[in-house]
Every structure is written in C-alpha cells, then in structure tokens.
Symmetry: C2
C-alpha cells in the first residue's frame, strides 16, 4: 500500500538519499553512537550511526562521511535507538482528548504512528466528523492512519445514530490518502452468515488493496474463526485467552494483544508466545482504548512494552510487536517499522531496555519530543460549530420528562409492578437482566435506592427526533443524585441515570448546555463535570487537565455513593445493544439475546 | 498489492468461503489427516484438515463439517502439507525452455509461483516478447508473476539490443495485472550516482505500489549498499558471502540466497543465519538461473530447500524461505505463502521432511501434479512468427566474413601483432584481458590453437544493422572447430568463436537457419546443436528432451577439445559489458573497467 504519511514519498527523494548515503551530499541529521534495536534481525548492534535526509533514513552504520556543513549531529551516547512505536488499533475518542491533544500526549511516549478507528465520532457526525479528527491530527507530527469505521450503527434497527456507513461510504474513504484500511469489523455475525452488505464492506476494502481489521470476540476458534479470517480479516485484538491468540496466529491472522486502560488482556494472552516457541511475527501489541489517566501516569506503548516484558516476553520481541510486526500487518513495512535505509525517520531513543524510558522521539527526521515533553508547537485547530454543537434534542428536558407511568393493569395487589432492570457488573462488559418489584408511587415507576434500582433514560440527540427510551439499572450503588453521559456506545445518545427526576433533569441539561460530556449531580448541584464538546465525546484540553477533570468526576461518583472503578465506563456501555443481555437505547429496552424490544414491565 | 494470480479475488468469494467454513455449503475439496507445515508460527501441527472452495482455503483445522455431496476428499495419511513454493527471482529463459514447458517442469517439484524477470527475451523482443512469455505461462497453472526488466540494454551505448526499456515503459507495465514489480536493478552504479533515469525507473515502480527487486553484487556493505537500499530496492540475490547477506537483512533488505545451476552461493551464504541467532524473516531461497539438466536431475525449489537443510538451516525455516518470507517480500502474503483461511489454495504434499519428496501439488485448489508428473494438460501456445524468427543479420555470412586484416603498421619485426584477448575463467563470471602475440598470415590475424587463442565475432542480429565486432578469446582449449550462440548476454547478438573461418561460418549459418540457439561444429560438420527458436533463447521442447539435447552439445564441445564445465555458459557472458575486464559486443571490444572501446591490436 502506498504510504502517504511522510514528508516526501520515496520516489521523490531516492536520488537524494543515495547521494547522502554515498557521501556526495550532507545529511540533515546524523545520530551517532547508538545501540541499534534492529527489529529486522532481532539484535542489538553496538555503535551505530544513522544518517537522515528529507525525513528519511539514508544510511545505517558508519555515517561519518554523511556529516557536512549544516548537518545536525546528535550523540546518542550508547542509548538505544529503536523504530518509532506503532499502535495497531486505537480509538482516540476513548482518551476523551481531541486528536491533536492525543498526539501531544502519546508522542513523548515514543508513539510515532497510530492506526485509529474513529468509530465513535463517526456514529455521531459521520464521515465529516472523521475528517475533522483527521484534520486535527494532521497538524501534529503523529501519523494518524485511519481505518474506516465498519459498523455504524453497531446494531442497525435498534438505535438512532448520527450517521450510517455503507459499502459505498467505505469505497469512498478507500480513496482517501489518510485511509489505510477498514476499522474493526465487529459485525462478525454478518461475516459468518455471509451477509452481502457486510461482505461488501470488507470487499470494498480488499478491492482497494487495503487492510481489513477485525474484532472476533467469540471464544471459538474453529469454524467461526476460520470463516471470519477466510473473509479477509487480517488482524484481531479481541483475544482474551492465550489459546485464542495462538489460534489466530496459526491461521495467519495478526493477533493484537490488548493492554488498554480498561481491558488488561496481556497477562493472559502473552502466554500464547511465552509458553510455546512459536514464530512471533504475527504478534502485535495495541492499546484499543486509553484514558487520560493511564496516559499521564503510565504511558502509552512504552508502558505496554514494559507490561509485555513483565509478562515474560523478550524485550526485542516486544519492541518488534509495536514496530515491524505492526507495519507488516498493514503492509506498510516498506516505509514504517524499522530503522533501515529508505524508511521514514521515525525513531525513539531509549535510555536502556530495562525501564524503556524514552529520551527523544523523531518523526520524519524532526525531533518531536524530548524527555517526556513535546518539542515545538503545532498550529491550532478549531472544530467547526456543527461538531461542537452536536446535541440535538427536540424537547426541553424537565423533571417531568422522566416520569414513567405504571400500567394500571400491571400493578399487583401489593401495589408493586415487576420491571426489567439492567444489572451492570463492575469492570466487565456484560450485564444481566434482573426482574425487580417496584412500589408504584402516584401511579409512577420510581427509582428504589434500597434495592439499588435507578431510573434510566436515553434521549436521541442527533436529529431532533424526540425519541427516548426508559428503563432501570441496578448495581451502581448511588444513594442520591444523578449521572448523565453523551459517551454512550455506540450511538452516543444522551444517557441519564438517577435517583430522582430533578437531579436527572439537571444532569441532562448540564450536558446539553456544555455540548456533551459526563457529569454527576446531587441535590441540584453539579458535583463533577467532564465537558466533551467535540461530538459530545472529546475535549480539546490537554492530557493532564483532562486526567484531573476525570479524576474529579470519579470523586463525584464516589460522593453520590458509587464505589465502582471507572463507573462512567460501565455506564457508557448500557446502550450497546451488541452486548448481552439487556440494554437500553433511545428506542427502548432491547433483549440482546433474542434481539427484540421488550417492555419495562415484565 | 492486489494479487491477480488466483481463480477469484477474495472479495468475490468471501461470502462463499465463510459459508463453507461455517458448514452451510460443502467444500470443493477437503484434505484430511495432514501434518501441517505452519509457516506462520513455524510449527508442525498434527492431524489437520484443510477445506477448499473457489480455489481458496476456507478452513484449516477440523473440516469434517465442510464435507458434503460433491466434496472431493483426499486423505493425506499423515503426510506433510505445506504452502506451494515460491521462487522469488528467476529468469525462465536460462532454462532454455518456453514458459509453458518451464511450468510443466517445475510444478511437479512443488513450485506454484515464480517471480520471473524476463530480461533476456526483453533484450531481444522488447515488451511484446515479454507479453508472449506471459501468454505462454498463463495457459499453465503456474503463477508466473512478472517483474519488468529494468536494465535493457544492460550497458547503453556499448551494444545493440532488440529493445530499450525506459521509465515510461516501466510505468506502462506497472498497469499490467501480471506485473508485481521491477526486475533486478543491475544498474547499481546508476542508483548510487543518483542518475535521474535510473531513479525514474525505480520510482515509477514505487509510485505504483509495487516491489523493486535488486542486484547488488559489490562486496561492500557500507555507503554503497545503504545508498542502494535507501533508493527503495527491497531484495537482492547477489550475496556471495555470508556477511553480505547478513548486512542486507540487518538493513531491512530481503536477502535472497541463490542456488542456481551455475552459481552455488548457498553453502557460504547460509552461514549468515546458521552462525548467529537472527530473525530469519528477511531470508529467502531462490534459483535465479536453472538449466534443464538441474531441473530434471535435482529438482527446483525442493532441491534448494534440501540444499539449505544440508547447510544447517532448520527445515521449517527453509520452507518459510520459499513461502511466507518470499510472499512478504512482495507484499502478497495476504494471498500467497501460507496455508491459512482466505489464501489461495496453493499447496504441496510432502512424504516427509527428510527427503522432501513432493507427492501432490495443488494450485488454486486444483491438483496439478502427482508423484513427479503434471496432472492434465494445458492448451497449446504458439509463439508468433516474429518471435521465432528473431535473427535479422543484414549480410550473408561466409568464411570471408571472419577475415581480420592486421594493420601493417602494427606488425612487429618477427611478423607478429600483439592483440588483446579475453581470457575466460571456468565457472566464473569474470574474465581477464591478456595480450598475445599472433603471427600474421597473409596479412590476416588468425586463431592460434597452440596459444589457445581463438577468433571471435559478434553480429548484431536484431535490426539488420550489419554491425559486427571482432576479437580473440583464450581459455576454451578448442583444437579444431567452432561454436556459435545467440544466447549471448544481455543483447543476445550472434556470437561465434572458432579455430577456422569455414567452421565459424558454418556455426553461424546453422543458427541463423534454425532461428537461433547454440551449436558446435568441426570440419564442416555440426556436432551438436541446441535449437532455440523462441527469440533465439528458448525452445518449446519439454524438459527431458532439452536436457538430453544440451548434454549432446556438451559432448560436442568436449569432442572439439573443451573440457570446461558448461562452456556454453561461460561463452554466453563474453559480450556482457557490465562485467570486468574485457568484453566483445557487436560494436567492438569494450574495456569494462574504463568503459571505452579498445582496438584488437594493442
């Protein structure tokens, strides 16, 4: 695949590079005395110099003849020089940061390229929103390579999204220079059932010579996994057992070992390569979803490489897993993923291979980070108003909006009605359908704090349709107050949960006013607010500020009674109808085992 | 890169493959009870079945549910199932067989795909000739993937070829479905000196997203090799020392270890991976040039894999070197090089991993060879008349044609003239310039058998220009007779060597009459003749017949006094002006160190 993420395509500057390598023309930059992390041969080579010109590597070895007038020389003093790290699968939106701020956050950790699947913003704003994120990223040095969201909406017919992506949209984006493939094909049922539309989506990607990335989360490695891979899906980051990752690699699929903020698969999945002596070229490390707190306190791929080493993966193998293996997965290894002549000069300098502390980062031969901080600034980017005013709810929300009348014919002799409640499970993506008896008050169904059952609503927020769905959730432990979020997968409608209608209305209106985000309120007071005005998903504030603001929200959640870790993440999955068992969308309660709507009242 | 060598592109049949893998539709073929040579993870997996549909692999594992009415079942009975072998660099013309006959010869040896560089026919007939070879190959199951000849002519300005390939021609061929890249860029001086034309040739390949293959034969792994690789050359088969191959792999270049009929590099080059524990993903095994005798008596890539194992390379690594590593070099690993779902069903069944005896070969799911023989027949192909009548020599050749008058002013007192003679070296590509005193006879320079100095002529044979060059060679040991050849690299003009003018004329006219080839004559009698009417380079006779005919020619050479091994090969290099030291082309003697014409007489 042609790589468009470089200062100059190789064919424009190959003559210049040859001249530099030969000594006929001075290099722009020479890095001397490095211990080279050679990911091609999996070796450390001592006392290596690298000459760079036009953003590309001209020579690796003895570069003394490449130094001339105007050549900048950086003495690595025996530090370790490795290729820039590549994240093979990442949703930038999960960081809650704009693409630009995300770049600022991860580059100092050695990340020089990401394969991003912007399916959250695409659900809200469609391809124009995706284009905004790409524009935002393009002003930064980070190589933000886009895979087109493949499953928008995630579950057609059960929710209202801001957008829809069909095979023609996929074909259109394949023409974009920024597009390197298809985002995670979560619709494995569509693939397995030979759905024409689903195969047209993957097919239009293959036809363009680009990469189909995957999402196969079944613990089944026989006919289903084979059918999925046979359809042209090249990689998958959903292995949660070592045997799943091993099965994928054996079937020629790139197994992306995930170590995100919320999902820590690496501990188990690493065993697929540490417990048997297999060729590891199909193994890749990725983050999938990373929160600002993780980025600020632990790092990005540097942290994940450290984690891999802690799980027994040899450090050179682990570095291959974020460099050459990833580049080969995307068939971009001719330009990315190794420190070799002709490649883009995307480089990281590490103090040592024990703590993997990143000292310097170069992208296309420019120093972009040093000792943990970005070097230089990039142009500002302002998202257009349609992107930052993405809350379009038809009706004014008041406490009355949240009233749920009980159906008189369902009221039992003891004055209760049995309702379906979604019981969430801390730090797990699944939920349970529970049946709970609620005492009817003034003909209405209300939250019951004693039973830990809270009223929940989802408001369609993309097209002023006025659609709204109601239900109950269980398991958050809130005693008084309400929470709201416009991060509510995958449609990202406005989700509100609370113990009382007044706080629920306040929470909802707080977010409507600030353009979306997440908040927790109690007794008419906003205790915590993460404003995410970009599509209701992201902020343009920098990482540390975001980490602090999110920490403030977590505090607020505790204050109103929830002790769950990162409860806003668990909350955000309540509308995701592709997960079992019971979910609430703007169209109502969905039985996600049978895929049909069900009533609140049993 | 889009692969056009398959029954159906994946996007057309992915739904069908998913249905087969899932059991909803029966497979065309299921191979059961195989020991799978898994080149992805470098393991042998026992008792594996493979289901095939539409020429592609639908499932690897337990395929019992894929067997239905009409499914052919082949019990592998514990034999070893590996991906079809790929030859990453081969000149079919060297086999002296047409592409069709070459395919017939190599498929039973497990070869399912070749990356062919048809630069011999291109020198004679240009791209139309290349197209003929592709048409010839296309009727066979062999995947004959073309790399566009990059250096036609090899040494511009010093010889007359039938054709010329410039950057625009390269760009044009990049549009061909059969083209996967650029053939060996032998003009490394052009690359190293940043020649615009040379970089346009490689650049037009890179611009098309295709692969530039290399030829870097200098024993220099510093600035020159770096300049060459930095220019986008992805592989090279010219390493003759282990350190050269290792240097290339360390610089991210695919090192193709050559084991051809004439050049046996493997013994030495194998040490690059056997003597240090490096990642071997950049190591590939290739043949470059193979003669019919080698193919018939030893095999093709099966033989080379056996040779690799004999040199201490682990057998699984060796098989990776002719499968997945080669496919990754050409960025075609999404379709070729492994036994995995979605891939083309190009498979070989091996009795065992000790002698690597090939029992069956499938291409695109069709059984194409069994127990050493091709299964089925393919359509006939007739090369057009312009391709089989490629000898266009303006003047009738008679004994008088070969008269070389001595310049009176150069005749020494003893009646001799000192001439330059090309001294060939058995089984080596280089030669020496020798100065020899010849006694002038009747004012003419004649062969001197006592000194082993033979008169030599090269006739332009492409465009009736009447150009001819004369010189002397030394080292063949011929006592009486003459030899002629239209295989005379790279321009493939008519080359004649002999002890007397009558035999020289007979040799020349014998070839002119049969459309080209190689012959040896003595005293007015043709002792050996290999007719190669296709471009004067190839025959449409089958392998065994060709092996016998060539053996007959070798016998004839012996009869006239030459005991050199394969002397016709050494002879064929006499006009190749890109090799040192002294060469003879149709334009005259070339000093190949200084790149200028020189006189016969010193």
């Amino acid at each position: 695949m042609i790589n468009h993420f470089c200062k100059h395509p190789l064919w424009e500057v190959s003559g210049q590079l040859a001249a530099v390598a030969g000594g006929a023309r001075p290099a722009d930059l020479v890095i001397t005395h490095a211990n080279l992390v050679n990911v091609c041969t999996k070796e450390i080579l001592a006392d290596i110099s690298v000459a760079i010109s036009a953003g590309r590597i001209a020579l690796v070895g003895d570069a003394s003849h490449c130094i001339g007038e105007g050549t900048q020389v950086v003495d690595a003093e025996g530090r370790y020089l490795a290729p820039g790290f590549l994240d093979g699968h990442i949703h930038v939106e999960s960081s809650m940061m704009s693409a630009g701020e995300y770049a600022r956050a991860v580059i100092p950790h050695g990340t020089t390229g990401i394969y991003m699947d912007p399916h959250e913003i695409c659900n809200v704003l469609g391809l124009p929103g995706v284009q905004c994120m790409l524009d935002d990223a393009a002003r930064t040095p980070l190589k933000a390579m886009m895979t087109t969201p493949s499953c928008v909406p995630a579950v057609p017919g059960f929710e209202d999204t801001g957008s829809h992506i069909g095979p023609e949209d996929v074909a259109e984006t394949m023409e974009w220079d920024t597009c390197v493939g298809l985002g995670e094909m979560m619709n494995f049922p569509g693939i397995l059932s030979s759905s024409e539309e689903t195969h047209a989506i993957t097919g239009n990607t293959l036809k363009a010579g680009k990469i189909v990335t995957g999402h196969y989360s079944l613990p089944e490695n026989g006919r289903g996994l084979n059918a999925y891979i046979a359809s042209g899906v090249r990689c998958c980051h959903e292995s949660t057992r070592a045997e799943d990752a091993l099965a994928k690699m054996r079937l020629g699929m790139y197994a992306m070992f995930r170590e995100g903020s919320a999902w820590h698969d690496l501990k188990v999945v690493a065993k697929s390569i540490t417990e048997q002596p297999v060729d590891t070229r199909f193994a890749v490390l990725i983050s999938d979803d990373t929160h600002p707190h993780t980025l600020s306190s632990q790092g990005h791929l540097d942290h994940i490489v450290r984690r891999a080493v802690a799980e027994g993966i040899d450090v050179l193998t682990a570095i291959q897993m974020v460099t050459i293996n990833c580049a080969q997965c995307f068939q971009m290894d001719h330009d990315l993923g190794s420190v070799a002549p002709g490649k883009c000069a995307d480089l990281v300098l590490l103090d040592n291979l024990a703590d993997l502390n990143i000292t310097k980062v170069w992208i296309d031969g420019d120093l972009v980070a040093e000792n943990g901080s970005l070097v230089g600034e990039f142009a500002p980017y302002t998202y257009p108003e349609w992107a930052t005013r993405s809350i379009h709810i038809r009706d004014t929300i008041t406490p009355e909006t949240f009233r749920i009348p009980a159906k008189p014919e369902h009221i039992a002799a003891d004055g209760t009605v049995t309702v379906r409640a979604i019981e969430v499970i801390p730090a797990r993506v699944g939920d349970y359908e529970r049946h709970v008896a609620l005492t009817v008050q003034d003909g209405l169904l209300e939250s019951d704090v004693k039973q830990d059952v809270l009223k929940t609503a989802v408001f369609e927020r993309h097209h002023n349709t006025g659609k709204k769905g109601f239900g109950f959730v269980k398991g958050f432990g809130i005693r008084c107050g309400a929470m709201a979020s416009t991060v509510a997968h995958d449609a990202h409608n406005l989700l509100v949960i609370g113990t009382n209608d007044e706080d629920m209305a306040l929470a909802a209106n707080t977010l409507i006013e600030c353009g979306g985000g997440m908040c927790a309120v109690q007794n008419g007071k906003v205790l915590g607010l993460v404003a995410l005005p970009i599509a209701g998903l992201m902020s343009d504030k920098p990482m540390q500020e975001m980490a602090d603001i999110v920490a403030g929200l977590e505090e607020a959640w505790k204050e109103i009674g929830c002790s769950m870790p990162s409860p806003f993440m668990t909350m955000a999955l309540i509308p995701l109808a592709c997960l079992p068992e019971l979910r609430l969308t703007d169209r109502g309660l969905v039985d996600c085992n049978r895929f049909c709507f069900v009533d609140i009242e049993v």
